[in-house]
């Protein structure tokens, strides 16, 4: 074996790729991780050291694209449907960070498991016109051990037994929940009055020192910021462990432009490094963990052909129900979200009746986050200029008084919602940009309207003087702002109706293994991270044992 040969090439260093690196290096494999973004996470010369690049800095993270992708360098395009023409927007579209650590760096770390039902949506609820509802090729029980391991590996704080809708667990969370936010205590009390069951959000944020990283100190710069003290575990924990084995190399600012495939087997990849030169790397396996948008893009750039590559693109249909509270709820102090409830996840008699009234067989909502807060720069940009500006900022309705709910509504897969290659717009390296074509199904809109009314009632119970509802897509524009992206290389047993098999292997080239949420046949009403990490653990361990590793 020469120095340039690896057992596996891993494309993407987010939660999926980092987990793959962790599991494979632990099994003795040598891996190289290609990441197109910069490295602001870990010192590759001394991987025991995490870097000091993240900070409580709204300009850097909210205004100047520190975590990437820069929309000038890597524009994406959007249209609601083919009827819109080639595109209606060019620039920023659903920018999950392009940086070492991927989406894990900017997330506030909510990592719920899916429920047993989520793996068999078609069997449980039945088909829906216009949507490609499906069962997963695996069951919850197949994944439970990996869920438990994922929670230990990345470090999750939570309270087992607090959520009556939770799936079966084989053990407790590794850490207790962190400090509840004041606003969440208000809305949790109101939710209980409405008969709902709020519980401490499972978060990959340390509530006590864990894995040689400190406990979170509640600074409040959580969602959309990197953690300055590395109290968020995902994907820092996996990546550091992998690099410390000495069997993983991390190459940042390196864009993989093609997977080289011969006779149904990948032999390596072509990549462009920071010097702009195109080179080739060879390996016996390619792990594709570039995320729900970039993973199908790379398969398309590599010449893979399957109608479902890029199809069934799912986000979450987000329903924001916000209220202005009379008291200061200081939502900028704390972990962004400390409480959630799952009461809208399971259809009941009332919701089924409402679905029938709307001409649907059923609908499902999603996990509801209790949240508020915006930092002053974000608030200011929405405030008016001129004489009203200062009073608006002093009153601080958004930063100090805004509190409410965000429902991560389940978004049904549709063939027409997809990622493809834009016919004209290019990235800085000359490759076709990602084009997103997306329009929500009636299911999402009906479910959103139904649950939004209940959430408004609840907010008024909590004391809100004014309430309002905004959805995405909807009032917040046509482009989904949910960063939860899934479904674009659906897994299944039948190569005609799926891109990957039940182990994440691409049917057309089984030594290419997808390790991100692109695999999901359906998206559930929960954030995708823990499930994609658990899938990566399960699938990578199978891969390593298959080789006798």
């Amino acid at each position: 074996m020469t120095a340039r040969d690896f057992d596996a090439i891993i494309i993407g260093s987010g939660p999926g790729g980092s987990t793959a690196a962790d599991v494979l290096t632990a099994a003795g494999w040598s891996v190289v991780i290609f990441e197109k973004g910069r490295n602001h996470l870990i010192d590759v010369a001394d991987p025991s050291r995490l870097t000091n690049d993240f900070s409580n800095d709204e300009i850097k993270f909210m205004a100047r694209h520190f975590l990437g992708p820069d929309p000038l360098l890597e524009p994406r395009t959007f249209r609601s449907s083919e009827d819109d023409g080639e595109r209606t927007h060019t620039g920023e579209v659903n920018t999950v960070p392009s940086t070492v650590g991927g989406g894990g760096t900017h997330a506030d770390g909510k990592v719920p498991r899916f429920r047993e039902d989520d793996f068999r949506l078609l069997s449980e609820q039945g088909p829906m016109d216009g949507a490609t509802v499906a069962d997963w090729p695996i069951a919850y029980d197949d994944l439970e051990p990996a869920y438990a391991e994922a929670e230990r590996l990345i470090g999750v704080a939570g309270e087992a037994g607090a959520n009556p809708f939770a799936a079966r667990r084989s053990g407790p969370y590794p850490m207790p929940p962190g400090a509840p936010m004041y606003g969440a205590l208000l809305t949790s009390a109101a939710a209980e009055k409405h008969g709902w069951n709020p519980y401490p959000a499972p978060t990959a944020v340390n509530s006590v020192p864990y894995d040689d990283r400190p406990a979170c100190n509640n600074c409040g710069f959580c969602a959309f910021f990197g953690c300055p003290i590395h109290a968020k575990g995902d994907p820092v924990a996996s990546l550091r462990r992998a690099l410390m084995t000495g069997r993983a190399q991390l190459r940042a600012e390196t864009f993989v432009s093609r997977i080289i495939v011969n006779n149904g087997r990948a032999t390596g990849v072509e990549y462009i490094g920071p010097d702009g030169v195109t080179r080739t790397e060879r390996a016996s396996h390619v792990i594709l963990a570039a995320g729900g948008l970039e993973t199908p893009r790379l398969l398309l750039l590599s010449g893979f052909e399957h109608q479902l590559i890029g199809g069934n693109l799912m986000f979450h249909y987000q329903t924001y129900v916000m209220g202005i509270m009379p008291m200061r709820v200081h939502g900028h102090k704390g972990r962004s979200v400390t409480h959630v409830h799952d009461d809208f996840i399971v259809p009941d008699l009332d919701s089924t009746a409402a679905a029938r009234d709307a001409g649907l067989p059923w609908f499902k909502g999603g996990m509801v986050e209790h949240a508020g807060a915006a930092h002053p720069l974000t608030e200011a940009k929405l405030a008016p200029w001129g004489s009203a500006h200062k009073d608006t900022m002093r009153r601080s309705q958004m930063r100090e008084h805004l509190w409410g709910f965000c429902m991560q509504g389940e978004d049904l897969p549709q063939l027409t919602n997809r990622v493809d290659l834009d016919p004209a717009v290019r990235d800085v390296r000359g490759f076709p940009a990602i084009r997103v074509t997306y329009k929500p199904h009636k299911h999402e809109q009906v479910a959103s309207d139904y649950y939004a009314a209940q959430m408004e009632d609840c907010l008024r119970t909590a004391g809100a003087e004014v309430t309002f509802v905004a959805t995405s897509p909807g009032l917040i524009g046509p482009i989904p702002i949910s960063r939860h992206v899934a479904g674009t290389t659906r897994m299944g047993r039948d190569p005609a109706t799926s891109v990957c098999d039940e182990w994440g292997r691409v049917h057309a080239a089984p030594n290419v293994v997808v390790a991100d949420s692109s695999l999901f046949p359906t998206g559930a009403g929960y954030g995708p991270t823990l499930t994609l990490v658990a899938l990566a653990i399960r699938n990578m361990r199978a891969l390593a044992s298959e080789r006798g590793g």
Binding site: N56, K60, P376, G386
Partner: protein
């Protein structure tokens, strides 16, 4: 001495910012040095390293060593992106992979011209009339004015934390953070 604007342009920018975020009983854009922030953005490449991203992990305002003051070095692609964003593509083929891009410097030069060389000397009503008339440019300056008022002082604005003080925002609280009581209590 401004890093990018001429003295005359700087006077107009200051006058614009003073209308967007006025001084009242509390300091406004003028006291916070918001025009300095905008000048620093447009002149970011007059510094080495360019003043695009302040460093981390801490500002030093709540303990820890003051890392914000050391700006990040840019990768070649980052430099390309920010030069295009600030200077524009200027007809250079290597900057026009998706066609020409108008830079902030060009947009400011054109916008300030529209507002008039005499803007700073016009009365407040006349200034507001012109800002409303050229609302696209006003929206651009307002976005930057907010950054200069409420962003970290290391970028040149928010002098003496004037923007944070009057709204009661503590700022970048790492590494102190907030206690559990501060999070959970009213």
């Amino acid at each position: 001495m401004p890093a990018y604007f001429t003295d005359d342009q700087f006077r107009v920018v200051e006058a614009v910012c003073a209308r967007l975020i006025p001084t009242d009983d509390d300091p406004g854009a003028t006291e916070a040095g918001v025009a300095r922030y905008i000048d620093g953005l447009l002149g970011a490449f007059n510094f080495d390293p360019p003043r695009i991203w302040a460093g981390g992990a801490f500002s030093g305002r709540f303990g820890g060593s003051p890392g914000f003051a050391s700006f990040h070095r840019l990768s070649p692609l980052d430099e390309l992106a920010w030069r295009v964003r600030i200077e524009g593509s200027l007809g250079m083929p290597e900057r026009e992979w998706n066609g020409p891009v108008e830079g902030l410097q060009e947009r400011y030069a054109a916008g300030l011209k529209l507002l008039g060389d005499d803007f700073a000397d016009a009365d407040a009503d006349e200034q507001d009339r012109r800002l409303l008339e050229h609302h696209e440019f006003t929206a651009l300056v307002y976005e930057h004015a907010c950054e200069g008022m409420y962003g970290a002082p290391e970028y040149g604005g928010n002098r003496d934390r004037a923007g944070w003080s009057y709204i009661g925002f503590e700022g970048d609280v790492q590494p102190r953070g907030y206690t559990d009581e501060e999070v959970s209590q009213p």
